[in-house]
Point group: C2
Chain length 221, copies 2
């Protein structure tokens, strides 16, 4: 646990592989494999165990035996999704079937490897999974700042933002909201400052990134 906490605080570019397998020899073998290529590793023996640990703060992936004590690997995948944890998952299985594979892949698994697993296949899969997680984290981080700035807007500023980002002129926004044009201008200035947008183009992209619906869809996007 202390170990885990320490690793979670490591530099953001230092990925970690999380292993969940009830077979100690398998855990050991995988741990050795990953450490041999310089990857950090954290091993768990059950689904419950990893659900208790806090989600890693660095690019990471899960290597998951599909057959686990208690809940299956697919259940764990579903639980993680429900908990809004999107760490990429690589499944390994000794006796999986095709419907199981399809379900896992449909739910977003990166790969599904059959025992005996070739070392290179596993490393390739982990490489791809970590890369995917890194990209997801980068994207997440980039909008989190925008989102928190948006939270800092007042209700009226948000009203104005929606309409301005829809492409309406100040006077149209004013008419829409029953305001004077000057009022819209002032809010607009406050919005630009608070959102740290250097241009209208910036602001438009921010609202799109936040998924803010446009008031009038003039464009066929």
């Amino acid at each position: 646990m202390t170990d885990h906490a320490k690793q979670a605080q490591a530099s953001a570019g230092d990925p970690i592989v999380l292993i969940v397998d009830d077979d100690p020899s398998m855990r050991r073998a995988l741990t050795n494999l990953f450490q041999s290529v310089g990857l950090k590793v954290e091993a768990f023996s059950s689904a419950a165990e990893i659900m208790e640990a806090k989600p890693p703060a660095v690019p990471s992936c899960l290597v998951l035996d599909i057959r686990l004590p208690g809940s299956s690997g697919l259940d764990l995948q579903a639980d993680l999704a429900k908990a809004n944890i999107h760490t990429p998952i690589i499944f390994i299985t000794g006796h999986g079937d095709i419907p199981m594979t399809v379900r896992a892949m449909k739910s977003g698994a990166v790969d599904f490897l059959t025992k005996p697993v070739r070392d290179q296949d596993m490393l390739d899969a982990v490489q791809a999974a970590i890369e995917r997680d890194r990209k997801r984290r980068d994207a997440e981080k980039s909008i989190s700042g925008v989102r928190s700035r948006f939270e800092g807007l007042t209700a009226r500023e948000r009203d104005v933002l929606v309409l301005v980002a829809s492409g309406l002129m100040n006077k149209q926004v004013a008419a829409e909201l029953g305001l004077a044009e000057i009022t819209v201008k002032i809010y607009r200035g406050q919005i630009m400052r608070k959102m740290e947008a250097k241009s209208l183009a910036d602001l438009v992209r921010m609202t799109d990134a936040l998924g803010i619906p446009r008031n009038r869809g003039h464009l066929q996007t």
Copy 2:
């Protein structure tokens, strides 16, 4: 062939299922199944045969036996991808294995069903696949207009568009391109007219939809 052409000209909301299977009884069974729920069907007996037919112009999906005479279903999937045909694919297999399944799913297959296939499973999969294709076509159509308008811009207009959509002021665009500000203004007006953008917000969204790179990334999107 004449039949096929006629069907391809049917109303855009009238989906079609394309079947590729070398077993005539399977083709017949699937055809009956799909027709029983009101779906149009076109059956082929080999990969080569369907590659010759022109891609359908309506929402559609492929039902593909993984083992085909000549090339396998996976090869056909790869060939279609290379030919830039993105019709969703549902595989059926009598004796597939997990690596095959993983490869198919990674390459974007909608589903991978094992024989004997339950009718309801097949219909559900086809339903999902057609829905996916419909969405993809809608998205495609919505940007195709924007793209063709962009093609109609002159080289210089595109230069200006990139910088304007990056959020630069006219004078900055002018400096960047070594032009007078008035010239930029005039191009800008032409761009708005040619692109049929009613506002700068529109224009920004169009450039983003076209995947036009921004000159200076001021924003963390």
